[in-house]
Subunit: 360 residues, 2 copies
């Protein structure tokens, strides 16, 4: 059992194969000029020595690490877990690695980005937290693209990918109205986040178009978590003088789920009989039997794809796309938490059919 902590270098391989170090480097660099038989000899020698190319050393000269920083906040929201999963799958397929940073939701991401920069990452994907303009320009000056995922920052130079949250909020309002709801409430997320704000805005906007007054739409913060939403829902529905709202919008699915569980099991409310509920995101959990949540689907695949396009990892010299904000279309998925009006029967049947297998 050797204790030689020595890792074989390209020189060792070169010596064994009887070639120069350059040849070893070329043997491992696709597209470089090397004779096939020589390459074979090198690979054979490398195999014998358990040689693994040192990406760290090579990135010193290539200026590319093939590492992408992914900054995550709330991993208790399954939405971001699926996002992480999707990015991981895609980036691995492109030969890239993911360096993970978790930050407190709502806090500054500057620290995390600074740590990431030390590793000369090729790009940053930000799914949480705030981003200062200073940090944005530091990254851009270095040629490192930053993409905001599921958020945007007004006036920021950083590009972002998200879905049409305002439109999605409107879709939920529309569904509630079609189902005959008269009084409304919502459980909101991060008050500083544009995502929550936009969903609220679309929802309210649409209701007001139908003559609902803003003061009639109740609003409680749910802190973007299952538990937070459960408490919020209870505070909203327990012990009140006003008549209960008959439609509740959870700004994201995990909060809608928390609200549903609390209202059903603590207050005995029946859904959708006593109360209709709408969510947002369409996480896989939303289609599970206890919820069958009517919600707005975010096109995660497209969002991930667009994010990668925006970073154009294969063309590092192309100038960075600045200030781009790409809202992708969202769509309503009819399930069981909002009574389906006759006009939407077909859509609901379609959703039910699509729900058979849970993705993954």
């Amino acid at each position: 059992m050797k204790r030689t902590k020595s890792r074989a270098t390209s020189f060792d391989v070169a010596a064994l194969a009887g070639v120069s170090q350059s040849a070893v480097s070329r043997a491992f660099t696709p597209g470089s000029s090397i004779a096939e038989d020589k390459r074979a000899k090198v690979l054979e020698a490398a195999r014998m020595l358990n040689y693994v190319p040192n990406s760290i050393a090579s990135s010193l000269t290539t200026k590319r690490t093939n590492i992408i920083a992914l900054i995550l906040g709330n991993m208790h929201n399954p939405f971001y877990v699926h996002v992480l999963n999707e990015f991981s799958r895609r980036l691995q397929g492109l030969g890239r690695q993911i360096l993970i940073f978790t930050v407190d939701p709502g806090s500054e991401s500057d620290d995390a980005i600074l740590r990431a920069l030390q590793y000369q990452i090729d790009g940053v994907i930000l799914t949480a937290a705030q981003l200062s303009t200073r940090m944005t320009s530091i990254c851009h000056e270095r040629g490192i693209p930053i993409v905001l995922f599921n958020r945007y920052i007004p006036g920021s130079d950083a590009s972002g990918v998200r879905c049409d949250n305002v439109g999605g909020g409107r879709l939920i309002a529309e569904a509630f109205l079609a189902a005959g709801a008269k009084s409304f409430a919502m459980i909101t997320g991060d008050p500083k986040g544009t995502t929550s704000q936009d969903r609220v805005r679309g929802f309210v906007e649409r209701l007001m178009e139908e003559g609902v007054r803003r003061s009639e739409i109740e609003e409680v913060p749910g802190h973007s978590s299952y538990d937070g939403a459960a408490s919020a829902a209870l505070s909203l529905f327990a012990a009140r003088s006003r008549p209960r709202p008959d439609a509740l919008f959870g700004i994201n699915d995990i909060m809608a789920m928390g609200a549903i569980d609390a209202l059903r099991h603590r207050l005995g409310l029946r859904i959708p009989d006593d109360l209709m509920v709408g969510g947002f995101d369409d996480i896989p959990e939303a289609r599970r039997a206890p919820y069958k949540l009517t919600t707005v689907r975010q096109p995660i695949d497209q969002m991930v794809a667009r994010t990668l396009e925006l970073m154009h990892l294969d063309e590092p010299d192309r100038p960075i796309e600045r200030g781009i904000d790409l809202p992708l279309p969202s769509r309503l998925v009819w399930r069981g938490t909002v009574p389906v009006p006759p006009a939407f029967r077909a859509a609901a049947a379609e959703a039910a059919a699509a729900d058979r297998p849970e993705s993954g």
Copy 2:
């Protein structure tokens, strides 16, 4: 808007501060010998240039990257999401970064580890997939510790951390017996994984001690997923000639949840009245209102702490701990899916009290 993709180097900072490059390096290296006023000058110059030390370059000489590879399989099992979260929190606190690799559950992890090795990672945490002895020795020869999390590989040189799965399986059997169950079934996970095997073994072992015959214990594979378990449960309970089992062990919580939802909502079974259900892991989701799952708690905090101890990142020169297998104690959490026998009323009340706030 500069287009200088040039990142300032320690030489640039040195020039601006009027010192040598060595001084810059020392200014950023805690514990190195440098006068306080000079360090201040360096830091000031660094700030002006937006200088960020290049960890990649420094690791070339220090032989330490402060990067840990975390290999994940099934991110659809919330258990591993919480594990990831915990590792991220802890490792960031220690100034380490996490490089994520996702692999197909059940497949070889060699590819992922090989990719990780290219980045000269300081350690590997494996929460999924198989590990070849060849890869183990490659890592060990290089002085890179590998820790198997929530698994072990018989005969492997790699160390592992897990809980007492056999004992945990026995606890569920014990609970079922105490609640008066007479006929049993289980939904199993990865048949190649020791974790699933051990839980099954403990469960069966304990039942057989009470005279239950092995052939009487039904067994269906649930593929470690919510959906897989849902199908498994339906195949187990729908259209059968034999009397239905009255106790079902889901080898992990996510499968127990899938089974519960399917049996309740598709077959109309009442839990625990018609059927008692036990799980394993105690993921946060298990305590949610629709489930209130009686399950075995894995001590994630301890497991994570032990994993980090085993890697002794701060003492890279200490010889690697080989073949260590640390089973930590697991314990039963009484909730609502198994009728609580009088003797366990106190334990159940305690669990209920502890459940008030969901962690995170």
